[in-house]
């Protein structure tokens, strides 16, 4: 895999530094969640995004609150990347009243409609239709807003993907299909459950496709740039397949209930190295090109860590939801 060298004019150092910091924010939030879940600090299970940060952030960096994203069970990264409030996300995962969903949704349902975050989703490919609907609304509004569906390699096997690609192409909707191929669908390697190449599925629908190294923030940014511009200019949908790797388990603690392993630990370690890890790669780039010193990076790391610590403190100190809140928000009578 190549290092980050295809530096391009339309992406400034400032852009890249902002992207780096957001990616770090996701990483540090998730590292906390991975640790805290061991002590049962919060209810429910978490699916961590660690290793895939260079997909959500460079794409969402080009979006506004009026653009829409719809995501997956592995949705914390998308939420943060699209500008979701870290404190409110953390409080949600801790099941607290101050959470972005009042503690009613938890990890798999973090959403903030004001920020264009339709939300994470507990149903694989469940967010697909929602994103298409938002793309339809943007198209009808003619406001240049785009809609993104983040989905996994596993989700790519749901039939709804075909229905979505057909209608988006047919109606020329401002939709971006962002497939995050992290090689696994739960505990099964993609190759065992997927025929052909996922990216090729866009072809018969006449949807332009971009295949990228999902651990290279610049690569992703470039593809996303094309796709977002197409959407904004009413040129229709785009399909991106970003190759990446899930560094953590499908869900934290999976080896406490699985009867055997499903991947080689050496494979996992390989993706954590300077050459592969999306955050380490950016750091190497900054240092090699004298954009940041080691001290600068340490300082940023600390800033981000402080913010995460604040969010955790906020979550822990927040009150539990009031029981009465369980009974509202179904249908209005």
């Amino acid at each position: 895999m190549m290092s980050i060298k295809n530096y391009v004019n339309n992406l400034s150092d400032e852009d890249l530094k902002r992207i780096y910091k957001k990616m770090l924010m996701i990483r540090k939030c998730e590292e906390h969640l991975g640790e805290a879940t061991k002590n049962g600090a919060f209810p429910g299970a978490v699916h961590l995004y660690i290793g895939q940060e260079a997909i959500a952030v460079p794409l969402c960096d080009q979006l506004n609150d009026s653009d829409w994203i719809s995501s997956t069970h592995r949705g914390h990264g998308h939420f943060i990347a699209k500008g979701g409030d870290v404190k409110k996300m953390m409080a949600e995962i801790y099941g607290k009243s101050t959470g972005i969903c009042g503690g009613k949704g938890g990890s798999m349902h973090v959403a903030d409609f004001k920020k264009g975050i339709i939300g994470a989703n507990g149903v694989v490919a469940g967010g697909m239709g929602l994103a298409v609907g938002a793309a339809l609304a943007s198209k009808m509004d003619g406001n240049g807003a785009v809609s993104i569906i983040f989905f996994g390699d596993g989700a790519a096997n749901q039939g709804v993907l075909m229905e979505a690609m057909n209608i988006c192409s047919l109606w020329n909707l401002p939709m971006i299909f962002m497939c995050e191929n992290n090689q696994y669908s739960e505990f099964t390697h993609t190759s065992e459950v997927t025929s052909g190449k996922i990216i090729d599925r866009a072809e018969p629908f006449g949807i332009p496709k971009y295949e990228v190294d999902g651990n290279n923030a610049v690569d992703v940014w470039q593809a996303a740039y094309q796709a977002v511009q197409r959407g904004r200019n009413d040129e229709g949908p785009s399909f991106i397949e970003a190759h990446t790797y899930r560094q953590r388990g499908h869900v934290e603690f999976e080896y406490t209930f699985l009867s055997r392993t499903y991947r080689d630990q050496n494979e996992v370690e390989l993706w954590k190295t300077n050459e592969k890890d999306p955050i380490l790669r950016l750091e190497s780039y900054f240092i090699e090109h004298n954009k940041y010193s080691g001290d600068d990076i340490e300082k940023i790391q600390k800033e981000v860590q402080d913010e995460v610590d604040d969010a955790v403190k906020f979550a822990i100190e927040s009150p539990e939801p009031d029981i009465s809140s369980a009974m509202v928000h179904m249908i209005e009578r």
């Binding site: 209810p43 429910g44 299970a45 099941g95 607290k96 969903c101 503690g103 009613k104 949704g105 938890g106 990890s107 798999m108 349902h109 989703n121 507990g122 149903v123 694989v124 490919a125 469940g126 596993g154 989700a155 096997n157 749901q158 039939g159 669908s185 739960e186 505990f187 099964t188 065992e192 459950v193 997927t194 209930f257 699985l258 009867s259 055997r260 499903y262 539990e320 939801p321 029981i323 809140s325 369980a326 009974m327 928000h329 179904m330």
Partner: protein, 324 residues
Amino acid sequence: MSKQRMMPAINLALQEEMKRDNKVILYGEDAGISLLGQTTGLQENFGKDRVRDTPICENIMTGMAVGAAAAGYRPICHLLYGNFIYTGFDSIANQAAKLKYMTAGQVKLPVVYMAVIGGGRSAAAQHSDIPYPALMNLGGVKVVVPSNSRTAKGLLKSAIRDDNPVFYLTAAGGGRPEEVPDDDNYLIPIGKSEVINQGNDVTIISIGSMTLKALQATKKLNDKGIGVDLIDLLSLVPIDEDTIINSLKKTGRVVIVDEARDICSAASHISAILSDKAFKYLKSPIKRVTVKDVAIPYSPILESHVIPDVADIVNCIEELLELN
């Protein structure tokens, strides 16, 4: 006999039935490694031909079961969580439940759809539903809900041997270990409930995960001198009307405990049956203890507020007795 939890008991039933009949096949997402433990070791024992890992594609999975059954196999379609029954619902509602009828009985459809249902784990709204009310209303499928490891084994074996589509829905919690018969012909007939405690003052009819809570409530009520006839329903389609009506004749009072939302729940259907067929034996209104009419929330405090617990059952019965 040996003490087992729910998932190993299900696994045992699958192993026995796959060994007995090589037309039994099983497929599902991660069926080989097994997310929840029901299918552990099956692929090693019966091969990747008969035990298949599917892509994530519930629509084709549910439909494929109907076609394979029509063509002579006895497929077990493993759908993980009950909520994903909704994802694959079209072939269930429009094909599995109707094909035999529409074609004047030309086909047998020996399909088992299995899934884990219910809440109590902070898994939130899309992983905690009780989908059986919608299934019961289809008419063309049987529905069974074991309450513990013993009934899990006996009902699954009957479901696999049945020539109709059967939904086999187990509680996520799984309850406590119970004695499970080793007998590889241990069958619990579909459509029969079990009276698991005898008493004269009130009948409790419980379903699935609620049976353990009802049993605990029964003990508390016994301590207060209230005798409970406790019926573990086990089958929702068909329902064992004789047993519940006979119990009502004895006690005159009925409380139904169901983890479904109240509207069109199994509980409301049972109460309709009883008021139709046994009205003159009733000494007080039929009561339902059900989940509140909301989606299942994530926060444990909220979740335990909406799902019935032992105290809800005890309170309901005490109020009922005070009425007289």
